[in-house]
Symmetry: D2
Amino acid sequence: MAGYGFMGAAHSHAWRTAPHFFRLPRAPQMTAIAGRDTDAVRKAAEELGWDSAETGWRRLIERPDIDLVDICTPGDTHAEIAIAALQAGKHVLCEKPLANSVAEAESMAVAAEQAAARGVFAMCGYSYRRTPALALAKRLVEQGRLGVIRQVRAQYLQDWLSDENGPMTWRLDKSKAGSGALGDIGAHIIDAAQWIVGQEITGVSALMETFVAERPISGELVGLGGHGDVSHDTPRGAVTVDDAVIFSARFARGPIGVFEATRFALGRKNAMRLEVNGSAGSLAFDYEDMNYLKVYDQGDEAQTRGFHRIMVTEPEHPYASHWWPTGHGLGYEHGFTHQVVDLVEAIADGRQPTPSFADALQVQRVLSAVEASAGDDSRWTALA
Amino acid sequence: MAGYGFMGAAHSHAWRTAPHFFRLPRAPQMTAIAGRDTDAVRKAAEELGWDSAETGWRRLIERPDIDLVDICTPGDTHAEIAIAALQAGKHVLCEKPLANSVAEAESMAVAAEQAAARGVFAMCGYSYRRTPALALAKRLVEQGRLGVIRQVRAQYLQDWLSDENGPMTWRLDKSKAGSGALGDIGAHIIDAAQWIVGQEITGVSALMETFVAERPISGELVGLGGHGDVSHDTPRGAVTVDDAVIFSARFARGPIGVFEATRFALGRKNAMRLEVNGSAGSLAFDYEDMNYLKVYDQGDEAQTRGFHRIMVTEPEHPYASHWWPTGHGLGYEHGFTHQVVDLVEAIADGRQPTPSFADALQVQRVLSAVEASAGDDSRWTALA
Amino acid sequence: MAGYGFMGAAHSHAWRTAPHFFRLPRAPQMTAIAGRDTDAVRKAAEELGWDSAETGWRRLIERPDIDLVDICTPGDTHAEIAIAALQAGKHVLCEKPLANSVAEAESMAVAAEQAAARGVFAMCGYSYRRTPALALAKRLVEQGRLGVIRQVRAQYLQDWLSDENGPMTWRLDKSKAGSGALGDIGAHIIDAAQWIVGQEITGVSALMETFVAERPISGELVGLGGHGDVSHDTPRGAVTVDDAVIFSARFARGPIGVFEATRFALGRKNAMRLEVNGSAGSLAFDYEDMNYLKVYDQGDEAQTRGFHRIMVTEPEHPYASHWWPTGHGLGYEHGFTHQVVDLVEAIADGRQPTPSFADALQVQRVLSAVEASAGDDSRWTALA
Amino acid sequence: MAGYGFMGAAHSHAWRTAPHFFRLPRAPQMTAIAGRDTDAVRKAAEELGWDSAETGWRRLIERPDIDLVDICTPGDTHAEIAIAALQAGKHVLCEKPLANSVAEAESMAVAAEQAAARGVFAMCGYSYRRTPALALAKRLVEQGRLGVIRQVRAQYLQDWLSDENGPMTWRLDKSKAGSGALGDIGAHIIDAAQWIVGQEITGVSALMETFVAERPISGELVGLGGHGDVSHDTPRGAVTVDDAVIFSARFARGPIGVFEATRFALGRKNAMRLEVNGSAGSLAFDYEDMNYLKVYDQGDEAQTRGFHRIMVTEPEHPYASHWWPTGHGLGYEHGFTHQVVDLVEAIADGRQPTPSFADALQVQRVLSAVEASAGDDSRWTALA
């Protein structure tokens, strides 16, 4: 594994945990973790449960005892690592968003396609697909239970930037992060919506906004304390990414959608919400109640028609039978564990795991069209 | 009162009921109801509790014993009736939307301004302002409890057109209805959002969609039964209005907003939803739970911070002390009763009631800009 | 109508409103209202919309132009008024609980039975039966949708006595009120549970508690202000009724139930909650969300099984088609309006309206058994 | 660890996971797992991640490289294993309920007290105490935020026995399981209520019920298939435990409580619900929404008073800062991980971990009083 931040912890937990709850066709070995700082990566290896530590991701690619590289580094490094790993014959799991530009994403998709021809596979880490309630949503749409899909409304609401004196970070610097709410959380709802509806977005009209243009440069850099101490003299850095983005979209075979991603929705902590309306039914999901899917079935008898609040922990539900008795909820990390399970099974079967790099490239194209439209008076922008 | 459809019933109930629960400065007399069909209007007078029936609205304006005209007719007649009534020195309550075009609305606003100078007042019936929970929302924003407002998300979701074999009606004919979801329900969330935020919308980017282009012409007209009998031979009429509309907006002093109105959100019956995020708090409302307002207060102690689910039936809440003990919910018609109370009190005080025709004209301008943007590739459209 | 407190207002609204929304077989005339204080009853007549005022309820019985007496006075007067009215050939609607003792209730039931033989009918005002969601619950149980009923859990939670400095009132004096939470709100859940399950309670085991034994005698009586001014010197009166009651019960054909009524559940304003579990399904209701019924149907497909959240405002639902379009909620007073409708229809048809005095007597017997058990170490107490 | 059923899996996951998210003072080694069947225990060791397998729990006590014994076997074996382990100087974590009788529990508490004097500690696995939302509830009561506690209502509702043709199992045989819903799930709400309120239950009045008296003996034993095949000829075994139990209770310093545990509440999967009302506030919890605590604070401003829906994933909340960013929910197994953390920290500090065997013995006494009351006409039964 390359990288050991928040995502590194989630991925490590998944690799450690998957074999104890699922019968995997191959037994994962947590061989090595790599990072730039020798001491830090050693410490991470110990804490996260890896057998060895390497300085620099290239060592992972050189080692013959490594079959798969799990990329949890920032987005600007994804392309280089992933392409090198694939070319070296190693399977790749790469965190989302796939890259910071469409061009990078395209080269990654090409590399992935070439590797797949040799039986070497790449997958992008849109882990929310593995939330049981969303996997059930996907299944119900595939079964035709919603009829013809007409509308999608998707929101990803967080609030961690609401405080205007919150510190400047690399995530707010476009040169490093690519974009703000759009790529970080907007990418998730784009991927989830396209995947569940089973159709690609073909065009968008967008509005992007930065509410707080400058933020105090954090104490660690300039010798100040917490943002309680922020004063008019505190040096401030320019926020160069979007705080919030709104866009409308059309899908390939008719549905329209409305999307919003923001880090300023005070009180919403991780409200990834998705509603889909079809001609025969509807579904609604909110990640803040991640164990539930709400489903409306027009086929129900009229007097008892209403959204079913389904606790997605039954043996009939995706992934659920491997865990606890019915009604005992799952948490955030289970999506990562399921992701590892699906990846290992696909590799063992010689099948392409999903989302492929090509799927993730499509998300990247939507992100790019959103930025283009927002920069052009919200004009309708078809996907390239 | 002119008109006796669904709105006529709601308004009549309000005039009948208000004096029994509120101490009004003037006692309303339900003098006369007018309509085109002599027999039908007589029947309506009896059912709805009016003292007399008149054929044609002009009779209301001629009668000296009438001080106020309540207009519940379709939108294409509003301008003529309202202007005539105001010029005849009668106060006016006019259902929303104010008119079917900006031009008509402008002439109505001019007439209202002239009448007001003579102590004759006009008000537009955006009755949702009188829902206690929304009135509380307005008050909290005015008190500064949300800090600087940053974002608004507003939805009005219904589902009564989901069935593609539902019949053609005048509401789906642009020449009569002006627009579809936009003017019917979109107008409500535009008015509510501007009123609660206390800022006008200055520009929009919009997408409009008609999912079902043709509908069977109803049995009453062509001798067929219910839409269970619809066949390929059933004559169909063209739907010329929007089934759904999505738009983004900017408000005068900084906030951005996202709006959606649809009649195709299967399972949502009357989901007028409004969320407002500020720098110090947030609020959320859903008309399907109309007695509740949810409020998040960043000033709460960290360990117990969370949306307060406020049942808006306490003596401290708008309108509530006039009704039942705490916790005994109110319903849809109470908004109309409160509207009558506020109107009568303003007239008695010689104050302009709100929303004024000028306020309602502003909503009309937003509707018009939405249509213009949707017809121009979603391009950003500033309000005239 | 006799009495003009909170219940008088609700009943008057119902009599005024019913004919405008329902096609009644007979047109109610609001002939006269009676009370002890001549001035107060005149004022009430005007505010509530009655044609005349009478001093003393006996005048209602003497007047030949009165066909029905609606009794909204305190419980200790019910028996005398109701029996006199029935014997005088007047139909009776009597507020709940039927009486303050089983003996009084028995004599009322006898009078009602005798009157019914002459086509004169009596009904007790357990108005919650007319809440559409609860009427739907009753219908579903009757249709067998829940299978064999096994369990009932019923709560009626209010909080208006939580403040220990809240004033002493007649409601807390056993000699006037009969009992506390038990008769006031406990009676409602007993009636609703027996009615919906369709079985009588046959025995109980109970615990009653008074949390605040003494309360300040209110300022109006002793010249003090609001309870902000309560001091150690404030005279206090003894609370002689229950603040809260808990009991378990058995129903005639097998189900068990658990009941709780309290005025000390801080934050619960009018939480009349009912859950019923059967072998084929369950239902759940909370009056604080009175427009909804939640239904679980074991017959649903396994993957989408979950409580349906039914908004009980569809044409297929009890009473709903007479009001607003789907999704537009009803409020507390609608139950009273429906009660009047059902009563007038039953009288016009020559049918016994329900709940009859015999039904209400059965509730009284349960109340009595609860008190007996609570006074005897919670020992199981069969109904007499 | 002794035992490797469902609880064994949960405990193993906790031991594996705790060191990766918490900085433990001692590093747990998963030395050995024991069971009766040599092959099965070997397989379990591999699946669950234990270094070695032993046939029979006595081997764990003999091994000098084992410091702590984690008991996940059925209740009738707890006393023997725990006492032997403690006497051998090994710390003990024992699953709940502590034992199948008060007598056994008493001997365990004595052994634990003697061991504690030597620095060897015992803890009982009431893991729900480690759910962050319930730990927050406990903290709020301790801080006095609810004022004087007056009422507790606790329910534990499941539905896995609703189908009357569900098979007979050892859990329905009193000789093996001790009791039914009472000991299995009722014990959890008794422990949680006493712990959060900070007071012991002093007396109870109870009703117990068995709805299905006989069940088919499962196919595995008698050569039949699933219960789809159940016929009148299928051999049936007697259910000798309670399907549901209801009881009222008094706590030491004044509060009253109402408790219900059932396996027949169709649609409720794991609804462990707890509500506490005090003089200054209330709290409500439902395990089916385990990441939330609802808190009502009478000290809030009147116009915005309402239950706070707190998502218990903030850094200020118990345990939460060790996991994911705010708003990313936790699941069932986290309680077990936290239990291990608290246990290891207490041992390292030489402190008694809680709940102690003495705490668990108190729960046992309540269970015993409930059974006694239910067997004696629900008569009030003080705790021994």
